[in-house]
Structures are given as C-alpha cells and as structure tokens.
Symmetry: C2
Subunit: 149 residues, 2 copies
C-alpha cells in the first residue's frame, strides 16, 4: 500500500527561521509554500535531495520526499496545540499511496480509525487523508496521493 515516505511533517514556531535553517544547514531546497486554512497552518515543503529535472512547477513529483515545516495560524489549531503540549518536533509522517480513496476504504474495513473519512486537499496539489495515531502506534499517519505532474 505505501509506496514511499512522502514527507516528515515537523511542527515549528517560526516558519521562515526553520526554512532558513533547513536550507542553509542541511542543503534542502524549497519546493513550495502555502497556507492551508482548513488545517490552520502556514507551511513549506522542502525537497530532500537533488531537485528533480523539470522542477516543481507542474506539482508534486511522484517520487519525491520532503520535509514539511508547519507553523500554526493560531494556538487553537491542531499544530498550535501540539506545540503547546509537546514543543517543536515531528508532528506526523506522510506516506505515498497510489489511490488515497481506495487506501482509506481498505484501512477502514480493517478497523483502522480514520481522521478523514474521505480525501482532502494537501500540499503541492496532493490528495491526502490522516489516520488516527491511536490506530497506528502513536504515529499520526498521512496518506498522500501526489498530484499528477
């Protein structure tokens, strides 16, 4: 079902400072920035490794892996609450799937607790859904069907 590690989502207090740190210190490349009001975050996706030829203009390259830096829009958002209780750190892990709707259906049948009953809009045009950490050994787990390039 999982085809790759799509991204590691990291909760940060200051998005621009964190982007500066990851690009300067570790050599990552910014693939895109966006604000997701539904999730209450400002975020940046940073490509890990060499930027694929063709770049990012056409949406998420299917095989890419990212660090996703997440700054909450307010304290009463999921990431805002995470920062208040846990501090900065890994918030979730996103895995690539070929078909997020089909994956959700299969996991629901297996009794996995779903945060999202149906796919919704994710980063870089992806279709995504979250699984509840109580069903996945404490790991907030995201399914990511990348946009077609």
């Amino acid at each position: 079902m999982f085809t790759r590690i799509d991204h590691v989502g990291i909760a940060v207090r200051d998005l621009e400072a964190s982007v500066e740190f990851y690009t300067t210190t570790f050599g990552l490349t910014v693939a895109g920035r966006e604000t997701n009001d539904a999730q209450g975050v400002r975020e940046a996706m940073l490509y890990v490794g060499a930027v694929p030829s063709g770049g990012f203009a056409a949406g998420a390259p299917g095989g890419a892996s990212y660090v996703q830096l997440l700054e909450p829009l307010a304290d009463d958002t999921p990431v805002g609450k995470f920062l208040a209780t846990r501090g900065e750190g890994v918030h979730h892990v996103g895995y690539g799937v070929d078909d997020v709707a089909q994956a959700l259906a299969e996991l629901g049948e297996q009794g996995i607790r779903l945060v999202d009953e149906r796919p919704r809009h994710g980063s870089l045009g992806a279709s995504i859904a979250f699984l509840h950490p109580k069903s996945v050994g404490g790991v907030l787990t995201e399914l990511v069907q990348a946009a077609r390039g």
Copy 2:
C-alpha cells in the same frame, strides 16, 4: 547534504506486534532485524515500497527508505525513557548523506550540537551519527551513510 529520507525511527513497546501491524496493514516488507546493544534496542527495518531487485542480502540499498521499529532492551535506555515519557511514536528521523564523517565535521563547524562526535555502527551495516534535537528544532536527527551494496 541530505540526499533522501533514509528512515523514520518509531519507538514501540512490542516489536513483533508492530512488525506484524506494518507488514499486514500497510504492506511494508521486512528488510532486516537486529539487536544493537550499544543503543539498547531490538529493531526491525521495513522497506517502504517495492523491494529493490537484488533484495537486501548485500546491505542497505543506497536509495531505499525504511520504517525503523525500535523496542528498548531495558527501561533505562534512550528508547525506554522515551516510551516512559512520551509513549509510542516517532523517535527520530534519519537522512541519507554521502559521507557521514564529512557531514559531522561540517555541522560541527556550524555549531550544531552533536550526539556522536564520530560515526558509529547503524542498521543494515550503515555508518551513522546523531545530531542533538536541541540544535534541530526538537527533532532527533540521524545521518546515515548506507553500506555499499
């Protein structure tokens, strides 16, 4: 510096139950199991995605990504303490580097706090070193130079 996401390290209470869960539910494939006395863990590396042709016999494929499941050997180990305070969940993130000794030297010069001053033995024959989470926005970060296949 970072060439890929090598693995996500997840602290678990019951290694075999967690291996069963990830292989059955998400379709991951066990690449190897080992006990690392120096780190105080029993662990399994699970390949995310299709198993590369040639398999795992010759060590870690350079481009592979894994879920690493970590069960502590005792309560007073790093992962044992993590479980006691945080519960099961993401323990660290490992990124691929071409040369872990060189990466350590560069990061040390930049003032990044190192857990390991020199490389040590990691999973699947890799040479690894940890960076302190206080220098990396709360993320325990591992550098991984994969074994030559």
